[in-house]
Amino acid sequence: MKEELVKDWSLGYILDHWIRVVAIAVLVFTGIYIHTPFIAGGPDSTIMASMRFFHFVAAYTVVLGLVVRVYMAFKSTFDADWKDFSIIENLKNVPDVLAYYLFIKGSHKDYRKYNPLQAFAYLFTGIVIIFTAFTGAAIYHGRPFLIFPMESFRWVNNLLGGESYTRIWHILAMWYFIVFLLIHVYLAITVSMINKDRTLTSIFTGYKLKKH
């Protein structure tokens, strides 16, 4: 068996990933502060205003990051991977991976880049980002991206049954990202340990070990 380093992520994918990580970390931290301010401000403080400012900057970053990611999925010259997210294709293969994860089977099929559960998780995360952006815009009341008029996302509040519920959904979305992070990191570590293919470091270096 031969082993060789293969480029798995281009610089574009790596940057997109890490910018998203940093932005979501900022969003979670500032978001918790905005919801339950845990540091009191002094006479000349602008702490809440700053927290909100960084929350918005990070929010724009995540939304734009998603736009870039979708663009790359279709147009990346390195690896346009949109086909890997095919819902029907992946649904067929869920039992295979699930059986592996639940120790019913000792191995699973070889998937191109993402296994079906992984593809679903990423797809769903994209949807949650969009959902969080909409609920966030409704809570914001201002002019998102300066192109939407003031209060143009108020319908989200009506849809969810009042702004208090928009806020609850926005908070639950934050917890989704935290839960996602826990599972994502855990699986990246275990897969690296099991496959010994440098999956974990590939998102830094771009290279994975492939066996033939």
């Binding site: 509040n157 009042g162 702004e163 908070i171 639950l172 826990l182 010994k196």
Partner: protein, 369 residues
């Protein structure tokens, strides 16, 4: 401005007699013009419109399930305010709480008005839909509404009870109380409807809508919930006098504290200002004397549809949510999220142990086939 836009001396004398100075009245009309988005130059026009209206615009004021707090908010001024007089001079033909007539006599007034038609119907209070839970003169309130809404030119639902049930419709809502809009739909009447959520309604809001109607002959621009945009266009938070404290992170953590005495932001005391749309900070209550936050209490969100249930409790930032599958157990969103995260961590730990036990990490080929 032509002669006909001027107020007659007789009218101003009449006001003077009621204790309102001519200057104050005209100033008030100017302020009302500003309130409904017109130049203050419209002041005299408004005064003239009001004088004319004094002679003809009949108003019927129906009281359903409520504590009559909205009526109270009009009549409890310490001296007769211009607002009160304006609403007075609009020949209010029928208002159970303040009229002298009672019983048969009151019924007769109502019947006469209904026959004449052309009145503005003001509804205060929610409409009970459970039989026998709300009757006036042996008639179900829903039927009274149906009878009186028919000949009206417009319906104004004032206060949260009238817009969607409000306090009397709070869980478990034993009388199955609904708002005016829903009630009209149920009895199949379609009329121009203005909703004014607030508990109680701000008298200035009603004056604004009525003057708008008298002057321009139409109800003002409404938002998606049928409320005048001019009063429900911005949040409390955006105009709050304590906003600087919010931005600076200076919060009241406990009532009776130093921070409270300093007038810090009430966000952590459950203030709903950031999610409540109403012009309370700008217009205030009791002739611009004060309002909730100025008086030291957090906004409880009474201007929002679905208050109180959807904005309970008054000193909690957010209502609890039902935990799925646990039949009625409620928890805050934070707790719910934390539970999910802890459950995930536990699941991961179990899976990690199982992975180690399975010997997967020891194999050479990994999980792939």
């Amino acid at each position: 401005m032509g002669k006909k836009d001027e107020v007659s001396k007789q009218f101003l004398d009449a006001l003077e007699f009621r204790g309102i100075k001519r200057r104050d009245f005209l100033k008030y009309c100017g302020a009302t013009a500003a309130l409904i988005g017109l130049s203050e130059l419209y002041g005299p026009k408004i005064a003239a419109a009001l004088e004319k209206a004094a002679k003809r615009q009949p108003v019927i004021w129906l009281n359903f399930a409520s504590d009559s707090g909205c009526t109270e908010s009009f009549i409890k001024a310490t001296y007769p305010s211009p607002a009160e007089v304006i609403l007075d001079i609009l020949s209010v033909d029928y208002n159970e709480t303040i009229q002298a007539a009672a019983g048969k006599q009151a019924e007769e007034i109502l019947a006469a008005s209904r026959k004449a038609g052309g009145y503005i119907l003001i509804v205060e209070g929610g409409v009970p839909t459970k039989k026998g839970h709300g009757m006036i003169g042996n008639k179900e309130m829903l039927d009274v509404l149906k009878e009186m809404a028919g000949p009206a030119i417009a319906v104004i639902a004032i206060g949260s009870c009238a817009t969607d049930g409000g306090v009397p419709a709070a869980k478990p809502n034993p009388s199955q109380i609904i708002g005016t809009g829903e009630a009209l739909q149920r009895v199949g009447i379609s009329k121009p409807l203005v909703n004014m959520d607030l508990c109680p309604v701000n008298p200035q809001y009603l004056v604004g809508v009525v003057v708008n109607f008298l002057l321009l002959g139409k109800i003002p621009d409404l938002d998606s919930q049928g409320r005048p945009k001019m009063f429900y266009g911005q949040t409390i938070h955006d105009n709050c006098e304590r906003r600087a404290h919010f931005d600076a992170g200076r919060f009241v953590e406990k009532f009776g504290s130093q921070e409270e005495a300093l007038g810090y932001c009430l966000y952590k005391m459950g203030c709903k200002g950031p999610m409540t749309y109403s012009a309370c900070p700008k217009i205030q209550y009791n002739d611009r004397t004060s309002w909730c936050i100025k008086a030291g209490g957090p906004c409880i969100g009474c201007a929002e549809r679905g208050w109180t249930d959807k904005f309970a409790g008054f000193y909690e930032p957010l209502p609890g949510v039902k935990i799925p599958g646990l039949g009625g157990v409620e928890a805050g969103a934070d707790k719910l999220g934390a539970i999910a995260a802890v459950a995930t961590a536990a699941g991961i730990a179990v899976h990690a142990v199982a992975t180690a036990a399975s010997g997967r990490t020891k194999g050479k080929d990994g999980g792939k086939k």
